[in-house]
């Protein structure tokens, strides 16, 4: 997108060159390669100067992402200049985070190269283009489970009740929540299967929550668990004793 825009603007020095980069990290990697410097020991002052020179003529709306990186480089440069105690073991190289991001980005570029080869191989083969006319294919039947609906209610309540705070701690298990869901489903069906209470694509904490909930409920005598053969779907049956409702 940026390529087309800038190319149309004509051959003013940097405009044509820059859009060849897909972002500031791409530009930075290219500078590191051109200047033949060690990625683990970047001469920040020099690279920052080069970087600024390359983005000088970028129109403001395209430059935002690059300017952020420029600011970062200048800040790292300043940190590098601070005097430090030789004996200070806790000193962390201000460039560490940048190096990490560059390596990560370099890996993305490598994957992109592989993706391009794979996509090109596939592009060279055509799929069937002529298709029989007729009534539009019927809409696929809908897979909808009560568990999904209950989980949705849960999400609505949770999302609306909780003030919008950033959660940093990984999600804890929610065994009581899972028990409520299993109970609600068992209220309607006497026998259910593992699949009925664990959503497709459930996250590990959700799977664990349900597992613990089932074990807890089995212990309380609310349900019975059975697995007819190894690796088969676990069958969950309402225990007569728990059938109070």
């Amino acid at each position: 997108m940026a390529v087309a825009l800038a190319a149309e603007r004509g051959p003013s020095s940097f405009d044509v060159e820059l859009p060849a980069f897909s972002g500031p990290l791409d530009l930075l990697l290219s500078l590191i390669r051109d200047e033949k410097v060690d990625i683990y020991d970047i001469p920040v002052a020099h690279i920052a100067q080069q970087f600024l020179a390359r983005i000088r003529d970028l129109p403001l709306d395209e430059a935002a992402d690059y300017l952020e990186m420029a600011a970062r480089l200048v800040r790292i440069k300043a940190q590098m200049l601070l005097p430090r105690n030789e004996a200070d073991d806790a000193w962390e190289d201000p460039r560490a985070e940048l190096v990490r991001r560059l390596l990560e980005y370099q890996q993305v570029r490598e994957v992109v190269d592989r993706f391009e080869q794979m996509a090109d191989a596939r592009r060279n083969r055509f799929a069937r283009a002529w298709l029989p006319e007729g009534a539009p294919p019927p809409q696929a039947p809908l897979a909808l489970s009560l568990v999904e609906l209950m989980a949705a209610v849960d999400r609505v309540l949770r999302a609306a009740r909780e003030p919008a705070l950033h959660e940093v701690v990984p999600r804890a298990l929610d065994v009581p929540g899972a028990i409520e869901i299993v109970r609600a489903v068992l209220l309607l069906r006497a026998r259910i299967r593992w699949r009925d209470v664990v959503q497709q694509g459930a996250e590990p904490w959700q799977v664990l929550s349900v597992l613990l909930a089932l074990l807890e409920m089995a212990k309380l005598g609310e349900l019975r668990l059975a697995q007819p053969r190894p690796f088969a779907d676990v069958e969950i049956a309402r225990d007569a004793a728990g059938e109070a409702a």
Partner: protein
């Protein structure tokens, strides 16, 4: 099969429409009209004699490869048995709110969910899970939505009262909705 017959097969397969003999001839500039005709014969014979699920057909002044009619019915039947689709998280959340708080208008749903739900409502309606059940009071007399009998069918419920935790959740949702926008409103009355 000869190279030309293979080329014709690939082209006929990849084309969205029947291909005329003139067009087929442009595929290989070296090939004479007689060679193209011979390759077409070879392809026809390959499909007919070797026994294939497809056949070479002539239509609209051109050629195309068609599936044999005896398989049409099985293919159409199989399309009915396609993989069931699933609702997105956003659709499920909206459906859940409607199920427990019906009849409910779009604005109230958006107040609870905090995002616009126009397109979600449209797709739930198209799937026959919700329907317009009336119009509310107030400005513009907004449309009110409720769940359908198809919705109950999906969960094998006889009536909405069979939804798990119906009372509790309906109250919780009512709290959310009325608590959010209007600070002057007092705590909702307990529902009897």
């Amino acid at each position: 099969m000869t190279p030309l017959a293979k080329l014709l097969e690939a082209a006929l397969f990849a084309s969205a429409r029947p291909i005329t003999t003139e067009e087929l001839a442009t595929l290989d500039p070296e090939a004479s009209p007689a060679a193209v005709a011979a390759a077409l014969d070879e392809l026809r014979e390959q499909y007919d004699v070797n026994g294939h699920g497809v056949a070479l057909a002539e239509a609209g002044g051109g050629y195309q490869i068609l599936t044999r009619p005896e398989y049409t019915e099985a293919i159409e039947r199989a399309q009915l048995a396609v993989r069931p689709s699933r609702l997105s998280g956003a659709s499920l959340e909206t459906l859940a709110i409607i199920a427990y708080r019906q009849p409910i208008g779009r604005l109230e749903i958006e107040e609870i969910r905090g995002v616009s739900v126009g397109s979600v409502l449209k797709s739930l309606h198209e799937r026959g899970l919700i329907d317009i059940t009336g119009r509310g009071e107030g400005l513009g007399r907004p449309l009110l939505y409720g769940t359908t009998s198809l919705f109950l069918e999906h969960f094998a419920l006889r009536h909405l009262g069979e939804l798990p935790r119906a009372d509790e959740l309906a109250i919780a949702l009512r709290h959310l909705e009325s608590a959010t926008p209007e600070p002057d409103e007092t705590v909702p009355e307990p529902v009897g």
